[in-house]
């Protein structure tokens, strides 16, 4: 079985009246390592000051974890570095650090001051198991709890700022706030109702529910909820460009048959090769032509899936992903991005034959070489969207 995919998502809601969130969440998958590190920090107070404290904490913690620095020393450096609040004369930012090996599922959770993490296997809670704690002699009131846990495929890890667990304070039915127990029960219900719920949807639903149980549904404290979901990867294969050697058409076209994942065919000639080899028809909805936004309308191939034009559409998709903005994107590009969003692992199958007509100087715009567009997509999808990307050339 393929290595499990780590979906790491969070949702953040800023306290009413503030222009910056006093919590911060950062994560990364260090290049060349099957490892994921996530840090959530809640800065003292709210607004810009808190944002600065939280941001400094997540940035430093991430850097220290990446370079495997001893955690106690790292925490001391972080606490020494944080600016002192003029009003309260202290410097403080809580944190939760998760360092997970995607290959083995082993994770180390380091917590200081945040609500305790929740590990769920399906809807069943795996009780937290603190394996020790660390206290700095210079900061004796800042204890760090360390838990070494084992995650299995299908497990979720939920961690948050106290804006979630203290939600509801001030209402008679939440005398002590929502608390960790309330969050746990809510998350279990959500998973029971939708066992495959994504980390993105789970974190969003929790964060917005926390806000909704506050008095007058106001966001009285910064809210951040992060979810790590270890799951079987959802795969997407994007096939584009005719193979360099015609004799490879058969093997190339065979990859268009979905084998557990989804498939997109990008390119007219590519679609024709697959149609010829697999005897599958393409249906293009001409009604979409009127609102195609400068791209040919998308179509469907029987038993395969989405079919779009190649170079123009992929170039547009790369641009939209780089800009992180695709709400008003043309149908073809939006559909591709939608499928990318739903997927964890993306495989590009790229035919390298160049269509000489694309080099015609009379074309109104310069067309990029297909391989260059795939390189752009590869880079942005890994760097900004955390996707696992592979490329196979034909």
């Amino acid at each position: 079985m393929a290595e499990p995919f780590v979906e790491m998502e969070y949702c953040q809601i800023t306290k009413d009246g503030q222009c910056a969130c006093g919590d911060d969440f950062q994560w990364e998958k260090p290049a060349g390592e099957e490892r994921c590190i996530a840090v959530l920090s809640d800065g003292l107070g709210s607004g810009i000051k808190a944002n600065l404290l939280a941001n400094m904490t997540t940035t430093m913690a991430l850097k220290f974890m990446r370079s495997n620095k001893p955690i106690l020393r790292s925490a001391e450096i972080i606490m020494d570095s944080l600016p002192v609040c003029e009003v309260r004369k202290i410097s403080y930012a809580t944190f939760t650090i998760v360092d997970l090996s995607a290959a083995t599922g082993r994770a180390r959770v380091i917590e200081m001051g945040n609500p305790g993490y929740i590990q769920l296997r399906g809807e069943t809670e795996i009780p937290p198991c603190s394996t020790g704690n660390l206290v700095s002699s210079r900061w004796p009131d800042r204890q760090m709890d360390i838990s070494e846990i084992q995650m299995a495929v299908g497990d979720r890890l939920i961690f948050c700022s106290d804006g979630v667990t203290q939600a509801g304070l001030g209402r008679p039915e939440y005398r002590f706030g929502w608390r960790r127990q309330g969050l746990l029960e809510f998350a279990r219900e959500l998973i029971l109702a939708d066992p495959g719920i994504s980390a993105r949807d789970l974190s969003r639903t929790i964060a917005f529910n926390a806000m909704s149980i506050n008095p007058d549904r106001r966001c009285v404290d910064d809210i951040t909820c992060a979810v790590i979901y270890l799951r079987k990867p959802r795969t997407l294969r994007i096939i584009t460009g005719p193979p360099f050697h015609k004799e490879d058409d058969g093997a190339f076209a065979a990859l268009a048959v979905p084998d557990g994942g989804k498939v997109i065919v990008c390119g007219g000639t590519t679609a024709n090769i697959i149609t010829r080899v697999l005897h599958r028809e393409v249906h293009i909805d001409l009604k979409l032509a009127c609102c195609s936004g400068g791209l040919p309308p998308p179509g469907r191939m029987d038993g395969v899936g989405l079919v779009t034009e190649g170079i123009l559409t992929l170039t547009r998709v790369a641009g939209l992903l780089e800009a992180h903005e695709w709400e008003d994107a043309p149908a073809a590009a939006r559909e591709i991005i939608g499928l990318i969003e739903e997927s964890d692992a993306i495989e590009f199958v790229v035919g390298t034959k160049v269509n000489e007509a694309h080099q015609d100087p009379k074309l109104p715009v310069d067309l990029e070489i297909r391989r260059n567009i795939i390189k752009r997509l590869h880079e942005i999808l890994e760097k900004d969207y955390g996707k696992k990307v592979t490329v196979r050339y034909f």
């Binding site: 679609a271 190649g310 123009l312 694309h358």
Partner: protein, 87 residues
């Protein structure tokens, strides 16, 4: 029925094919029942210099290079007339 296939390939789309994709709506009412307008991923004609320039369409399998609405209407009217004659 008369088959009209409009190429949606990159080159055709950029060289005027985009405007042809909305041709169906512009067809005279009496032709709409007779013409089946479809978009196809590519006619693969642009890769061959001997077939002329994009955009390409196919009318009953016959390739038309450098296709414009006027050119398509002209050929369609011939086909419609022929179809009427056959009746």
């Amino acid at each position: 029925m008369i088959d009209l296939e409009i190429c949606c390939g990159t080159t055709c789309y950029m060289l005027g094919g985009a405007a042809l994709l909305e041709l169906e709506k512009a067809l005279p009412e009496e032709w709409r029942q007779l013409v089946d307008v479809r978009a196809v991923p590519c006619t693969d004609a642009c890769a061959r210099e001997d077939l002329g320039r994009a955009p390409f369409v196919r009318l009953n399998g016959e390739l038309i290079a450098n296709a414009t609405r006027e050119k398509i209407y002209l050929r369609l009217s011939e086909l419609v007339a022929a179809a009427g004659g056959e009746k």
